[in-house]
Symmetry: C2
Subunit: 348 residues, 2 copies
């Protein structure tokens, strides 16, 4: 019976988690940022059923289904919980809406009034539970949150405009108020990630999509320090849960981020050369990412060559194959199928 127990779900190893622990697994595990989404016909059908985008996020059954769709179709090694980074500001009391075909719009921000109500996020954690129950044990459920800086960008700007000038100015001119916002967010992000882990997430990813907007001094203050606190707090509250930090656009600051935050995995954007990242970050941290979503969207020989190039660099190191940014909505699903096939056929 002892032997049988070792073969139950809890004891089956997951390549994603092994990689995040620094191991070089025979297969290179993979998942894709925004693997659930509009490029999939089955997602578009689900979305019609759900109504608005946020309705889908807050419907546990439908969110779980959206999460599982790409896992079924492409046999990815991880499911990333279908949700949005802006559910957190919403649960802290700021208004958030998505107009059809447009980006998010956020209501007025009152930093002093922000308070996280975890109850509002219960549907998100319920979705995680449903996903974990439905996944085969070899597959990892990845929870996630926007990082404090990136959340603050949307919360102050009121929208996503790519340059976030209002936020960058506010962070310098009103440093004390901005620091209070970041502190509140750091706590809220931690709580949100802990709940996802309790609901079944085996690893979590911290999306700092706008980290690249900051010069070094501010990057250290608003990107690195909060990430470091979150990693340390998770280590206490949910020991053994790896954190993947994704400071998109960090450029030459990637190695500093990796060294200082204590993340188990680092998401590498498409623009950062993978070989350089590995050289500068040492062999113990697991790297993830790097494929240009434009190349996945284009497909063909360009895709095959780029995948071969990435796999060649990643051969002898802990690595999770992924994109350097989310899947584009015009990506033909067949190109993702082709990618999955290439990855499945590769052995170290």
């Amino acid at each position: 019976m002892a032997l049988a127990i070792r073969h139950t779900a809890q004891h089956v190893s997951q390549d994603v988690l092994l990689s995040l622990e620094g191991m070089v697994t025979p297969k290179v595990p993979f998942w894709l940022m925004r693997q659930a989404g509009r490029y999939l016909p089955e997602y578009r059908a689900l979305r019609e059923k759900a109504g608005g985008f946020l309705d889908l996020c807050y419907n546990p059954e439908l969110a779980a289904e959206a999460t599982l769709q790409p896992v079924r179709r492409f046999d990815t090694d991880a499911a990333i919980l279908f949700s949005d980074i802006l559910v957190l500001p919403q649960a802290m009391g700021q208004e958030v809406s998505f107009a059809p075909g447009e980006g998010p719009r956020l209501g007025a921000l009152d930093i002093a009034q922000l308070e996280l109500n975890l109850e509002k996020l219960k549907p998100v954690y319920d979705a995680a539970r449903l996903v974990r129950a439905a996944l085969v044990p070899q597959k990892t459920l990845i929870g996630f949150s926007g990082a404090p800086w990136t959340l603050a960008c949307y919360m102050i700007e009121g929208e996503g405009n790519g340059s976030f000038e209002k936020t960058r100015l506010f962070a310098i001119r009103n440093e004390a108020a901005f620091a209070r916002l970041i502190d509140k967010l750091t706590e809220a992000v931690t709580a949100h990630l802990v709940e996802q882990v309790k609901a079944g997430a085996g690893a979590v990813q911290l999306f700092d999509s706008w980290a690249g907007l900051l010069p070094k001094t501010l990057f250290m203050k608003w990107v690195m320090e909060p990430a470091k606190k979150i990693v340390a707090e998770l280590r206490k509250q949910v020991p053994g849960t790896p954190v993947i930090g994704f400071p998109r656009g960090a450029g030459a600051l990637y190695p500093l981020y990796a060294a200082e935050t204590g993340c188990s995995g680092i998401g590498i954007d498409s623009q950062t050369p993978l070989a350089w990242a590995r050289r500068e970050m040492g062999a113990d941290v697991c790297l993830q990412g790097n494929l240009d979503p434009a190349i996945l969207c284009a497909g063909g020989t360009a895709l095959e060559m780029e995948v071969a190039r990435i796999l060649d660099i990643a051969r002898g190191q802990p690595f999770i194959f992924n994109l350097g940014h989310g899947v584009w909505k015009d990506t033909p699903p067949e190109h993702v199928e082709r990618l999955a096939l290439l990855l499945r056929g590769f052995r170290r």
Copy 2:
């Protein structure tokens, strides 16, 4: 008389040019990207007189005046010709317009039909001549052009949307056609820069604002290779004219760009740590830039500290003080005055 000749305009040295030749001048010379523009009341007045933005670009007297305004107000060491990168696609036959308060809109692109008509750009070179005649000899006139990749982004996308997905996809899916476009642009950019030099520009800057969108393999092909060709061609046609390459967002690829293109100066964006850039690029290339435009816009202690930090790093090396991106339109001119004062008070 020989002595007198040595003191005429042609023989007065310019700190910007000396720095680009690798010298460490007692003063750190400075100018700012987009130093002529909407944040200046005198510019707004001029703009009202001119009509549309492109009308201003094509009016030699008014364009020269716009160029000179910040030099007068802040005593910058260089004037950058007031113009726009999109005058080049326009002179090649593509329709370009600027709707008030909006970004540029470009007409349909027919790569085969593109042909540079330098005659259309005569007002730009006339403006350069007027500026050079009005500048004191110690000051440098900097000519510029968008780099082929960045121009191609606007030309294919038809607008500036920050992500340029259509262009990135086209460059992969239709590589041969895209290569023809880049080749045509490389020639046109070269011709445009040569004419500016002949009209009085002492140095030229190549703006590759969207270089950061490309992964390494494509960065080498569409950013580095064209820059290398342009630098080599200028070396033949207008020997001794330094080229400042500004591959914004190049991140970890900056050192490769510097080593391969042969640029005399490299524009460093705000996000790239200056000390790292210097360490990785060696002491012979002149670096330029780095101040976050958000910090200039914010002013106050943050500005003073950041300027001190940059000057400290730049102390013993060829360096031109500048921003890491253009001046924001809400920047109070007094903050630029304060910056100018700080720089004037600094001696190596």
